[in-house]
Amino acid sequence: MEFLVASTIGVITAAGIYLVLRARTFPVVLGLTLLTYAINLFLFITGRLAVGQPPVLQDGVTAYTDPLPQALVLTAIVISFGMTAVIVVMALRAYIESENDHVDLIDGDNDRGDSRT
C-alpha cells in the first residue's frame, strides 16, 4: 500500500508541476489544482497509513490512527478550494481585460503607464 500511495502522490505532483509550467492560465490553474490534491494526500499520510483504526479514544481499542493530519487536511482543502476560486476569477478577468491568457508578462507590460482612472 505504501508504494501505491507514494507513487500516486508522485505522479499527481509531476503532472501538476508540468501543467503549472505551461504558458496559458487554464493549464496553470489545472496544475495548481492537481498540486493541491497531491499535497492533501501527502498531508493525510503524514500520520502514517492505517486501515480501520479509529482516530478518537474508544473502549477496548489499542491501535489508533493520528487524528491531527486529518484536521490539517481539512483546513488545507478549504483554503486551496477558496484559492482556486480566486485564481479562476482573476485569470478570467485578466483574459477579458487584456484579451490574452498568457501567464508571463508580455514585453511592454512593464512599460505601460498607470491605469488608474
Partner: protein, 511 residues
C-alpha cells in the same frame, strides 16, 4: 496569560467586516473606522512592546487549550518590534490611501484591515501550521489589494502573483507535513525540544522539511532565484499597496529568523545551523542582482522594486551569519528598509500622478507641479535606500558590515555590500537626474491629471522619512533594544519554558 496579545489580530478582524457590511456606502465612515483601527494598532504595538520590557515572553492559549495541544500566540521582543513597525507603516499607507486611492476600486479598507490582521497574526503565532494559516490570510487580502482599481496590466501581474504564491503555499504544506511526520508536533517551542531528539534515520526527512520551509520563506522574502515575481507585482500594484507590501517581504525574513533560531537553533543537535550555508551565497547573489536590476530599470516603480530585492539581500546576508551581533544589525536594517521602501513607493506615486502620459517612465520631460519639493523627498528616500550618510541606511549598512567582521566569508560580504551600494547609488542618481534635474532644461510644464490633493500625501511620506530620522538619531538606544531582542533569540530556553509551562486561566469556580 496576557489577554492583550490577541487584540492586534482581533481588532482588524472585527473592523474589516464592520466596514464591509455596515458602512461600505459611506467613504468617510470607512476612512474613519480604518484610520481609527490603525491608530489603535499603533498604540497597542507600543503598549505590548512596553510590557515585553517587564515580562520578555508572554503567551496566550487560544480557547484555553494547553500548549503543545492547542494553538498558542507568543509575544516576545521580536514580535513586539514587528507589530509596532507594521502599525507605523500601516498608518502612513492608510493616510496616503484616503487621499483618493481607496475610491479607485471597491473594498480597499476591509482588505487593508484583513491584511494587517494576517501580518500581525504571522508575527504572533507560536504554531507552525497556524503560521501557514496566517500566511494565507495575509495573501488572500494581498490578492485583493494587488488588483485594486483593476486594469489589464495589473490583472495579469496579479494572476502571476497568485499563481506563484499558491505554489509556495503547497510547498509550505509539504514542509509542515514532513516536520510533523518525524516530530509529532507543530508547536514551535515543542518542536525546538523535539527536533534534537529525532533519530538519525529520520533526520533526512526533518532537514528536507526544514529546507523546504526556507524555500517558502525565501519566496516571500524575494531571494534570488525566487525573486522574479516581485518587480512585476510591486510596479503594477497600486502605490499604497506596494508601500504596504514593503512589510510583506519582511514577513519572510521574520519567519526565517524565527524558525532557524528557535527550531533549528543550537538545540537542534545535528540539524543545528541548517539554513546558514544555503542562505549566505543566495543572499549575496540577491544583493548584487537586485542592485544590478536598479541600473537596468526603465520605470521608477520597477527600480524601487529591484532596490527592495537588493535590500532584502543585505538583510538576509546579515541574518545568514546567525550570530547575535549580526541578527541585531539585520533587525535594524529590517526596520530601516521597510520605512525606506514604503516612502519610496509613495514618492513614485507622487511623480506618477503628476506626469499624465509618461507615468513613472524614466524619460526626460518638462517640469511637473511641485517638482522641486518632490525631488527633495526623492533625494532623501534614495539616500536612505542606497545607504548614504546621514540617514539610517548608512547606520544600518555600517552595523551589517561590522557584524560580518568575524565571519569566515567577510571579504565576500564586504565586497558584495559595498559593490552593490555603488550600483544602487549610480542607479538612483541616474533616475533622479533624468526625472528631476534635466527637466529644468525642457520648455513648458506638465499638467497633472485630476487635482493632486494638497497636504495628506506629504504628511504620509513625511511620517516614513521622519521615522528614519528618528531611527538615525536614536540609533544608540534602539540598538540596545535590538541587542536584547537578538540575545533573546539566541537563548530560546525562556521562550520554550514559558510556552510549555501550563498557565491557563482557571475557571472562576475552581478557586
Amino acid at each position: 496569560m496576557n489577554h492583550w496579545i490577541i487584540l492586534p489580530i482581533l481588532l482588524p478582524a472585527m473592523v474589516a467586516p464592520l466596514i464591509a457590511l455596515t458602512v461600505r456606502h459611506d467613504i468617510v465612515l470607512c476612512r474613519v473606522f480604518s484610520v481609527a483601527s490603525t491608530v489603535l494598532l499603533l498604540v497597542l504595538g507600543g503598549v505590548l512592546m512596553g510590557t515585553t520590557a517587564v515580562e520578555p515572553v508572554q503567551t496566550y492559549n487560544l480557547g484555553n487549550w494547553l500548549a503543545p495541544f492547542g494553538i498558542v500566540l507568543v509575544l516576545d521582543r521580536l514580535s513586539a518590534l514587528l507589530l509596532l513597525l507594521t502599525a507605523v507603516l500601516g498608518l502612513a499607507v492608510v493616510l496616503y490611501a484616503i487621499n483618493g486611492w481607496d475610491r479607485a476600486g471597491r473594498h480597499f479598507h476591509p482588505l487593508f484591515q484583513l491584511q494587517l490582521m494576517g501580518i500581525n497574526g504571522a508575527f504572533l503565532t507560536g504554531d507552525l501550521f497556524n503560521l501557514f494559516v496566517f500566511f494565507e490570510v495575509l495573501l488572500i487580502a494581498s490578492y485583493g489589494l494587488m488588483v485594486h482599481a483593476g486594469g489589464p496590466a495589473r490583472m495579469r501581474a496579479g494572476v502571476q502573483y497568485v499563481a506563484i504564491n499558491l505554489v509556495g503555499s503547497s510547498v509550505f504544506l509539504v514542509a509542515v507535513g514532513l516536520i510533523y511526520s518525524v516530530t509529532g508536533t507543530l508547536n514551535m517551542a515543542h518542536l525546538a525540544v523535539e527536533v534534537g531528539r529525532v533519530s538519525a534515520a529520520d533526520r533526512a526527512l526533518l532537514e528536507t522539511g526544514g529546507l523546504l520551509l526556507l524555500l517558502v520563506f525565501a519566496v516571500k522574502a524575494a531571494l534570488v532565484p525566487l525573486h522574479f515575481w516581485l518587480p512585476g507585482t510591486y510596479a503594477n500594484a497600486p502605490a499604497p499597496v506596494a508601500a504596504l507590501f514593503a512589510i510583506m517581504t519582511k514577513v519572510g525574513a521574520y519567519a526565517i529568523i524565527r524558525v532557524f533560531t528557535l527550531i533549528f537553533g543550537a538545540g537542534a543537535a545535528a540539524s543545528a545551523g541548517l539554513a546558514g550555508p544555503w542562505l549566505l551565497p543566495l543572499a549575496l547573489v540577491t544583493l548584487v542582482g537586485g542592485m544590478a536590476g536598479v541600473l537596468a530599470s526603465r520605470r521608477l516603480g520597477q527600480m524601487v522594486g529591484f532596490a527592495v530585492i537588493g535590500s532584502m539581500g543585505t538583510l538576509l546576508v546579515s541574518v545568514a551569519l546567525f550570530t547575535p551581533q549580526a541578527i541585531s544589525a539585520a533587525l535594524y536594517y529590517l526596520v530601516h528598509s521597510t520605512l525606506a521602501a514604503g516612502a519610496l513607493f509613495l514618492i513614485v506615486d507622487l511623480v506618477r500622478e503628476r506626469r499624465p502620459d509618461l507615468g513613472d517612465r524614466l524619460t526626460t520631460a518638462p517640469q511637473f507641479a511641485q517638482c522641486g519639493f518632490i525631488s527633495a523627498l526623492f533625494l532623501l528616500g534614495s539616500m536612505a535606500m542606497t545607504g548614504l550618510p546621514p540617514l539610517s541606511g548608512f547606520v544600518g549598512k555600517l552595523l551589517v558590515l561590522d557584524g560580518a567582521r568575524e565571519s569566515a566569508h567577510a571579504a565576500w560580504i564586504w565586497g558584495g555590500i559595498l559593490g552593490a551600494s555603488l550600483l544602487a547609488i549610480i542607479g538612483f542618481a541616474r533616475a533622479g537626474t533624468t526625472l528631476f534635474w534635466k527637466s529644468a532644461s525642457v520648455e513648458g510644464t506638465l499638467q497633472p491629471m485630476g487635482q493632486p490633493a494638497p497636504a495628506l500625501p506629504f504628511v504620509s511620506v513625511g511620517t516614513l522619512l521622519g521615522g528614519m530620522v528618528l531611527l538615525t538619531v536614536f540609533a544608540g538606544p534602539i540598538m540596545l533594544y535590538l541587542d536584547s531582542v537578538a540575545q533573546q533569540l539566541f537563548t530560546p530556553q525562556q521562550y520554550i519554558d514559558t510556552v510549555m509551562t501550563p498557565n491557563t486561566v482557571q475557571p472562576a469556580g475552581a478557586h
